[in-house]
């Protein structure tokens, strides 16, 4: 084996080893956080202790309907230490809800309701926004998540 092939083998194997390690970490993450990944709406897969919040995206605002029937627009009120499941739908075009501080992202697709679970840990006010371009005032489709203790 000449030195060229040896070098090639070494760098191929190093790259493959690194990627394999990252891939295993990623598969582990997905396996352990199934409820935190956007998926088609299904009431039977909602975690047992979770409170459902209905989210509707429309041009150009988010509206949140809570279990007690109250509704808020561009403001999401949650309590720290509780588990919530967002069931997200869209009235018109495709939107995408992102709460960066929670690492939570879910598309709002007309005719294809999605759900995703999360548990806020810290009290405070955090941003959320629409990250799928949806027309003129796409940039205004944003607001604050208020986490109370």
């Amino acid at each position: 084996m000449n030195s060229k092939v040896k070098h090639e083998l070494i760098y191929s194997l190093v790259v493959i080893a690194i990627l394999l390690a990252v891939a295993v970490v990623n598969i582990n993450y997905i396996d352990g956080h199934k409820a935190n990944i956007a998926q088609p709406e299904n009431n039977s897969t909602v975690p047992a202790n979770s409170t459902i919040i209905h989210v509707t995206g429309y041009q150009w605002a988010w509206s949140f309907t809570y279990a007690n029937g109250t509704t808020s627009t561009d403001k999401l009120y949650v309590q720290a230490g509780h588990n919530y499941t967002l069931q997200v739908q869209s009235k018109d075009v495709i939107h995408d809800l992102l709460i960066p501080s929670l690492g939570l992202q879910v598309y709002a697709v007309p005719g294809h309701p999605n759900q995703v679970s999360f548990e806020p840990m810290k009290k405070g006010s955090y941003i959320f926004e629409c990250v799928e371009y949806c027309g003129q005032d796409h940039y205004l489709m944003r607001g604050y998540m208020e986490v109370s203790s």
């Binding site: 990623n26 005032d137 796409h138």
Partner: protein, 557 residues
């Protein structure tokens, strides 16, 4: 202004345009008449065939006659210079978008205009610049690199070129604001606040671009496989020829879903039966789109890898470190990149299995990219002496930017990162590292190398060219780094305004973007200045020809 004045103004402008059009028509027709007369005297019935034979194998400088001739090199020049024209149009749109984001609220450019600029910037850059320049360099370089036996598809190439130009022009005219994703139902909203009043025209324009590009791709593949000289076996072709082969096979095998999807979308304007009924979901279109939309970003990269290999070997005077692994990893890149398109839809609610498959596949596609980079570094490592001419600087910067952009891409392939960064400026930073550093950089490198041939023996100012390089590289780095950091903190992309907390990242990206723009102005000035000077060298560039005199110059002085 009164109606009478308006009418007078309209008729004056109309007359001037008519005179101009007639002048162009007259010049074109008289030129083609004289060309066919000459051909007839030589005993040819097909004038174009005669001229293709006359021009065969000669260095081809730029002149207006490229629109009269249809030999492969003239077509190549048409593609290269049209794509550079669109690069500057789309780049100007990009700088305008940057500047308008100076303030968190849109005060300079209104959101409707901003969204149009955004759509045009993305579509023109990808379809008109990246694909166009790749096809252009293919048409221009392959006839000499492969010493073609025949050059007989000129008519078809010309038709393909004009369809592509018509598509790009109509796309600009349509003032579409649907973003290059074209997702329905937004793209079906024919309103200024949605996808733009004339968005139906944009769909037709996209279809025209696709037809043109598909035709050209078939012709270039035919040129490579059937027309190359008998003594050049596939295993001895330049890496660039292989890169074009893989790119075009990838293009041909993945653009049909979107062509069909666009047809269905167009039908949906009149009778919505495909994507927006109660029994369907717009995600169907998203799947059709990304089956093409992911390979397209590799189409903007793989041909430039081929050019990088060729340029590196010219300036380091050493063969490619491993020709086999270079070609093999480009081929692997072609196959694997068609399997990872689903990672653009990880958070769309297509299921956990979807996420599992496409994130894992996305890691695999990194292997050939990494091998390519290592191969280039190996070539540089083996070289005894590397001449840091402007093209070489661009290529080295391209390797660096591709590594940074690639690592950001690997990060995005993690679902845990993707949930935070998808749809944010992190993604924009990731691909602008690669598009500005690699696609734009290598295009400029190749342009500088070919410049003596384009300009019939003129040389550009090496000092200005180096300034062009350093300014572009610095601006690109500043812009993309600001985006990547801001995006990781949740700064959404494709917005006309933003939360005030992101202003520092936006403003530094604006500085970067404007710096890139200034760099391209230096390029224009350099080219204009040297074009007016007298030819001082021979028109043989080192990418196509090996002569005694051209080995020491890099196309510049």
């Amino acid at each position: 202004m009164s109606t009478t004045e308006l009418l007078i103004l309209a008729s004056v402008i109309g007359s001037l345009v008519a005179i101009l059009v007639f002048a162009i028509y007259y010049l074109a027709v008289s030129k083609s008449e004289s060309m066919s007369l000459t051909a007839k005297e030589e005993g040819y019935t097909d004038s174009n065939a005669y001229w293709r034979e006359q021009l065969y194998g000669k260095p081809r400088p730029l002149s207006w006659s490229i629109f009269s001739y249809d030999d492969a090199k003239s077509i190549g020049l048409r593609y290269i210079f049209t794509s550079i024209l669109f690069l500057f149009i789309a780049g100007a749109f990009g700088v305008m978008m940057r500047v308008s984001l100076f303030d968190p609220n849109p005060v300079i450019i209104q959101p409707i205009i901003y969204n149009i600029l955004m759509t045009q910037h993305a579509t023109l850059m990808i379809y008109m610049f990246a694909i166009g320049a790749a096809l252009g360099f293919g048409y221009y370089l392959l006839p000499t690199q492969l010493r073609l036996k025949r050059d007989n598809m000129g008519h078809w190439s010309s038709v393909a070129y004009w369809l592509w130009v018509l598509g790009g022009t109509l796309f600009v005219i349509s003032r579409s604001s649907m973003r290059w994703y074209l997702y329905p139902p937004l793209s079906l909203q024919l309103l200024p606040t949605g996808a733009g009043t004339y968005n139906w025209l944009a769909i037709i324009a996209m279809e025209l671009i696709f037809i043109g590009v598909t035709m050209a791709a078939v012709i270039v593949l035919k040129v490579i496989f059937i027309d190359r000289a008998d003594d050049i076996p596939l295993s001895k072709m330049p890496v660039f020829a292989w890169a074009i082969v893989f790119t075009l096979i990838m293009l041909l095998s993945s653009d049909e879903p979107l062509m069909v999807g666009l047809g269905m979308l167009f039908y949906d304007f009149f009778n919505p039966v495909f994507f927006t009924t109660s029994t369907s979901t717009p995600l169907t279109f998203a799947v059709l789109f990304w089956f093409w939309g992911h390979p397209i970003v590799y189409i903007a990269v793989i041909p430039y890898f081929g050019l990088m290999y060729d340029i590196i070997t010219r300036f380091s005077k050493t063969p490619v470190y491993s020709y086999f692994s270079g070609v093999f990893s480009l081929g692997l890149l072609m196959i694997l990149s068609e399997l990872v398109w689903g990672h653009h839809l990880l958070n769309s609610g297509l299921g956990i299995d979807w996420v599992l498959f496409f994130t894992t596949a996305s890691f695999i596609v990194v292997i050939p990219s990494a091998l390519t980079v290592f191969n280039m570094i190996g070539t540089l490592w083996k070289a005894e002496k590397i001449r840091l001419t402007t093209p070489m600087l661009f290529v080295i910067n391209a390797i660096l930017d591709f590594i940074v952009g690639g690592v950001l891409g690997v990060m995005l392939a993690n679902q845990s990162v993707n949930e935070v960064a998808h749809g944010t400026y992190f993604v924009t930073g990731h691909f602008h590292f690669i598009f500005v550093g690699l696609t734009l950089g290598v295009t400029m490198a190749t342009f500088y190398l070919l410049y003596p041939t384009f300009s019939n023996g003129r040389v550009y100012d090496e000092r200005l060219a180096k300034w062009h390089f350093y300014i572009t590289a610095f601006g690109s780095m500043l812009m993309s780094v600001s985006w990547a950091i801001g995006g990781y903190l949740g700064m959404p992309r494709a917005v006309a305004g933003y939360f005030a907390q992101f202003q520092v990242y936006q403003d530094s990206a604006i500085i970067g973007g404007v710096i890139i723009g200034i760099g391209q102005l230096v390029f224009l000035y350099n080219i204009a200045k040297s074009w007016l000077a007298h030819p001082t060298t021979d028109p043989y560039n080192i990418l196509e020809y090996r002569t005694e005199t051209n080995q020491e110059i890099g196309g510049g002085e």
